[in-house]
């Protein structure tokens, strides 16, 4: 890095410029991943909180490959078949529907989750939360605030009155805060709404001997592990898909920008490389210098970009769904550096091919 550092200092302006571009890309990537994680949390935290080994859906309609939370409808018979199957330690029915809660003039969207009031569904709620009793609802704090209600007040869903029994920090499903009621309450609300159903999905726990795939074929259901099951939430699939696509493109752009910069830069100092080779520089040494310069640019650019992202992110955290964590910051940063180095490696061609003979007699 003897020559590399001195070149960076000598061509300061150019290196600051390219590092700034990397920093800007890092900020974009940092914000998009933070936003992706925030939106994902708003979509699925309730599903992840179920703590199930598998989510069981009714078989998708003809022509559809994947099951969906919105379309799934589980019958009591299917629930019994799962409960009785070998290796299934618990199969708790769960009713899921999008609804609108009202209290007086105020309204708020909510995801209505109906859970089995018996022990089977007790672990779905955040630890320590009492189960909803018939005619009551466990409400997220955000929803309660929107509706202006407190514990003991009444809210209504499709004309059914529910008394607020407990407030908990919001859990999320498809961007709506979850309101928890008993399964019978959920069923009657669904009937009133014109879509009678017994339950939407089953959250099952399995022991090691269980063979969910064969239970699936025996009961004509489709089960998924929780993470793949997230893709069965329509809004999650579409949002996360397009955001991740943009992030992936930014990674590609960053690699290209670094690659293009260092290719031009390396070609420009081609005569110097020929001279160094003629003087006896090992090619490995020159390769290390070139990649070292790329690494300096990347670490500086990504570092500044990360700091800005963390700074602005913690300011914006309250206003938009934005998650700042070592994972959402560190992983993209690492990815940008790695891809940038791959881009920088394209600049090695002129280094490897440069002929030291060119230094002799050649007019520069």
């Amino acid at each position: 890095m003897f020559v590399a550092w001195r070149e960076i200092r000598f061509a300061r302006g150019r290196f600051v410029l390219i590092a700034s571009v990397v920093a800007l890309i890092t900020i974009l990537v940092g914000f998009l991943t933070g936003l992706t994680a925030g939106l994902a949390g708003q979509n699925v935290s309730a599903v992840l909180g179920l703590g199930a080994d598998r989510i069981v859906f009714s078989a998708p309609a003809h022509g559809e490959k994947d099951p969906s939370f919105g379309d799934s409808s589980i019958t009591a018979a299917e629930a019994d078949a799962w409960t009785d199957a070998a290796g299934v330690t618990n199969a708790a029915p769960l009713g899921i529907s999008q609804t609108r809660l009202s209290a007086g003039e105020k309204r708020a969207p909510a995801a209505l989750f109906g859970i089995d009031p018996s022990a089977a569904g007790s672990h779905f709620l955040p630890a320590g939360t009492p189960m909803p009793r018939p005619g009551t609802v466990v409400l997220g704090e955000g929803t309660a605030q929107t509706l202006g209600v407190h514990v003991g007040d009444t809210v209504s869903a499709f004309g059914e009155d529910l008394r607020v029994s407990t407030l908990i920090p919001d859990t999320w499903y498809a961007h709506s805060s979850v309101a928890w009621v008993t399964l019978p309450n959920w069923q009657s609300i669904m009937s009133t709404g014109g879509q009678p159903a017994w339950a939407s999905v089953l959250a099952v726990s399995l022991d090691a001997s269980a063979q969910p795939d064969s239970i699936d074929s025996a009961t004509h259901t489709v089960s998924r592990a929780p993470i793949p099951a997230l893709l069965s939430i329509e809004s999650f699939r579409s949002e996360i898909g397009s955001l991740l696509l943009i992030v992936a493109m930014l990674f590609g752009i960053s690699a290209l920008v670094i690659g293009a910069f260092f290719t031009v830069w390396t070609i420009q100092r081609g005569p110097d490389i020929a001279v160094l080779k003629a003087l006896g520089a090992r090619t490995g040494r020159l390769v290390r210098d070139t990649l070292g310069q790329a690494l300096v640019v990347l670490v500086a650019g990504v570092g500044v970009g990360m700091l800005v992202t963390v700074g602005l992110g913690s300011l914006a955290g309250g206003a938009v769904p934005f998650v700042l964590s070592p994972l959402t910051i560190g992983l993209p940063a690492l990815g940008l550096i790695l891809l940038g180095l791959i881009g920088g490696a394209f600049a090695l061609r002129p280094v490897l091919r440069s002929d030291p003979l060119a230094a002799l007699g050649a007019a520069r």
Binding site: R9, F10, V275, L279, R282, L357
Partner: protein, 233 residues
């Protein structure tokens, strides 16, 4: 010591080959200087390229500083250049980002691991710069030096790793006569001081009488000239 025996070098040229060096033999003992002159395109630079391990000849023997150059791999040839051969380029070929002192210090960084302590290297570089008359110019970048000063840095750099062999390609072509004279004098003194085998290409006949041996190249063929007669010619 530089020894070439029956060296032939050809380059591809369309569908046939052009002979740049044709069965050339020469020998340069330590502490002496041999000049090569000749018309443009006669093969002088090609001869230097062979003697400095930059290119492998088609046939013939090349021994430089006791090392047989024919049959070396690229990496081995690089190591020979680094350790045994100092090259003074026609254009100074200095690195624009480096100060005069660093142009010399870089010679200690070429093989990936510093061979000597940095401080000792810088001390040597400082001494060498002083030896070529550049004391006080250590921190200047190439664009802050005159043509003659750049050529002195070029010479000092070639001597940094104490090579047994000095290869010099038209060192005065970019300089006026007086400046050129000074440079030739410097190379002569350094050759005597350090006992290098110096092979120098020049177009300028005015200092051929100061050389130990003068060779003329014509279409790749070398012939020996009496130094005194050469200057008169």
């Amino acid at each position: 010591m530089i020894e070439l025996r029956n060296v032939t070098l050809t380059f591809p040229d369309g569908d046939h080959r052009v002979t740049a060096v044709d069965h050339a033999s020469l020998s340069v003992p330590p502490g002496t200087i041999t000049a090569v002159t000749g018309a443009s395109g006669s093969g002088k630079s090609s001869l230097l390229a062979v003697a400095s391990a930059l290119i492998t000849p088609d046939s013939g023997e090349v021994r430089v500083a006791g090392v047989d150059l024919v049959g070396l791999s690229r990496a081995e040839a690089t190591a020979v250049r680094r350790e045994h051969i100092g090259i003074v380029f026609q254009q100074a070929n200095l690195l624009p980002a480096l100060s005069a002192l660093d142009q010399l210090a870089v010679m200690n960084e070429l093989d990936g691991h510093s061979r000597a302590a940095r401080a000792a290297t810088r001390e040597r570089a400082r001494d060498l710069l002083a030896r070529v008359g550049l004391a006080g110019h250590e921190d200047k970048r190439p664009h802050q030096l005159s043509g003659g000063q750049r050529q002195r840095v070029n010479i000092a750099r070639a001597l940094m790793n104490e090579p047994g062999v000095l290869i010099v390609d038209e060192p005065t072509s970019a300089l006026d006569h007086a400046r050129g004279m000074e440079i030739i004098t410097l190379i002569l003194e350094l050759t005597r001081d350090r006992g290098t085998s110096t092979l120098l290409v020049t177009h300028d006949h005015s200092h051929l009488d100061r050389m130990d041996q003068v060779l003329v190249m014509s279409d790749g063929v070398l012939t020996t000239l009496d130094p005194a007669a050469a200057t008169a010619a």
